[in-house]
């Protein structure tokens, strides 16, 4: 009985220490401002994958992405009309908006923000 209680307590502690997102790749950003409401899975944006192909300034200067998680008001209609992700995901520079679940591949219910063992807290403050 106590053994089980102890093991349970140990598991509790473990669960508290290992939030399920702790293993995400460094720099992955989750976008979930509208996705859950819209009945789709949230969007995972992998920085590592894109920075192999583009310098930061392409997105954060040329294309106008604010460098702050959650600061960009991205709607699906924007993307289809060629703004935000749609400036590349347009079947010209990269595959287009019809491949929904490559972007909408996040776990439902997760909050927007940067994941993956980041060490600074909260949203960027500047």
């Amino acid at each position: 009985m106590t053994g089980r209680a102890l093991a349970g307590a140990a598991l509790l502690v473990l669960a508290a220490l290992t939030p399920s997102a702790a293993c995400a790749e460094y720099g992955d950003v989750l976008l979930n401002r509208y996705s859950d409401q819209g009945g789709v899975r949230p969007v995972v944006f992998p920085h590592w994958f894109h920075r192999i192909r583009f310098r930061c300034k392409v997105c954060h200067d040329q294309l106008g992405f604010e460098m702050r998680a959650g600061a960009n008001d991205v709607r699906m209609s924007d993307i289809i009309e060629g703004r935000f992700c749609g400036m590349c995901h347009n079947n010209d520079i990269a595959w287009g908006a019809e491949r929904c679940d490559l972007c909408h591949s996040g776990r439902p219910g997760l909050k927007s923000g940067v994941y993956g063992g980041h060490q600074t807290t909260g949203p960027g403050r500047w």
Binding site: V13, C23, C56, P108, G109
Partner: protein, 357 residues
């Protein structure tokens, strides 16, 4: 007097309990059908199927409380918090768990042993297939494999590393409830063990392994293989990877060959106390960034004009706007604190920048 009030309380409690029973069962079925059945009905990605003793037996041995908690908080192996319904009251989640386990609870004890063996048998087959649906395996084959398999599985719990070794199917291996204490005393409590670095999307905790798209994404290690490694962040030395031509990120969205506009200007920030001074290199930054990414929103472009401190950086200000989020994290002290007080460069950043003058 006392006793009577106590008994009435007990009685009313009991009555409540009796009433709550069927009500909860009804709610549980409803919640299950609306929120949980998508995955649990077919056992998608290893979700235990309702009323299936083989699926629930070992889990029930961990106790109902553990099941409730995992259903509410989610698990790394694919159960999203509250099944992906953040607004669902916790009581409703518990009711759904009760519904799914109702017919199993009694039968769980005897079914538990051979259960251990069923999983590995199932694991080998679907490893390469794209559909994460778990295969049912005839229980007849089970008892033979049991002792051999149980051991590595327990080991996987003690040292979290092996979880990553194989693909999604291995991730279905569940910790044996008894080994919770061993897991709690794993060698590294806070340091992310090697097996949990650069996990493929299906196992990284933020991708939903039940989506086809997740399985089509590139696993980070497939890309990082040829790149110089580092000790933190993506565990890739991005500065070196770029300098050595291992990657060729575009400077313009639609031009493959536009050259970067790089400025080589080091700013030394003297640090009070014993830490080496900070050398801020414009070169490595302007390889990636435009002046307007930092000036003037993050830094006024004037030496010494900006207040900086580690506390502020850890809060995401100044250098912390990028370092600790996308660029290498704050743990790499020596990359920033690279200039010894006597003027000799201690880390790699300063000499590298100077060499390019």
């Amino acid at each position: 007097m006392r006793t009577t009030s106590l008994t009435t309380k007990l009685l009313s409690l009991a009555a409540l309990g009796v009433m709550a029973g069927p009500l909860q069962a009804q709610e549980g079925r409803q919640v299950y059908e609306q929120k949980c059945a998508v995955c649990h009905a077919a056992g998608l990605a290893g979700a235990p199927r309702p009323g299936n003793a083989a699926d629930w037996g070992p889990r029930l041995r961990a106790g109902k409380a553990s099941l409730y908690r995992n259903a509410i908080q989610g698990t790394m192996r694919g159960m999203p918090p509250k099944g992906g319904n953040p607004d669902l009251p916790e009581a409703a989640v518990r009711a759904a768990v009760d519904f799914m386990t109702a017919t199993v609870a009694a039968a769980s004890k005897p079914a538990a042993r051979p259960e251990v063996a069923r999983k590995p048998a199932a694991q080998t087959a679907p490893a390469a297939s794209t559909a994460p649906v778990r295969q049912a395996v005839p229980p007849a084959a089970a008892p033979v494999a049991a002792p051999a398999i149980a051991a590595p599985e327990a080991a996987a719990v003690a040292a979290p590393a092996p979880v990553q070794v194989a693909s999604a199917s291995l991730a279905l291996a569940r910790p044996e409830p008894g080994s919770g204490a061993a897991a709690a005393n794993a060698f590294n409590r806070l340091l992310r063990p090697p097996g949990k670095r650069n996990l493929p999307p299906a196992e990284d905790g933020i991708h939903d392994p039940a989506v086809d798209g997740t399985l089509q994404l590139q696993p980070p290690l497939a890309a990082f293989g040829a790149m110089p490694r580092s000790n933190a962040g993506n565990r890739v030395d991005w500065v070196k990877a770029l300098a050595e031509g291992k990657i060729a990120p575009r400077w313009e969205r639609d031009k493959a060959d536009a050259a970067a506009v790089v400025m080589d200007l080091n700013i030394v920030r003297e640090v009070k106390g014993s830490m080496p001074d900070v050398v801020y290199p414009h070169k490595q930054h302007t390889e990636w960034l435009d002046c307007s990414n930092c000036h003037p929103a993050i830094f006024v472009p004037q030496k010494g004009a900006n207040q900086m401190s580690m506390a502020a950086i850890l809060l995401g200000q100044g250098c912390g706007a990028c370092h600790g989020r996308v660029a290498f994290p704050v743990s790499e002290c020596r990359l920033c604190h690279s200039k010894k007080k006597d003027g000799v460069a201690a880390g790699s950043a300063a000499p590298q920048a100077e060499a390019h003058r």
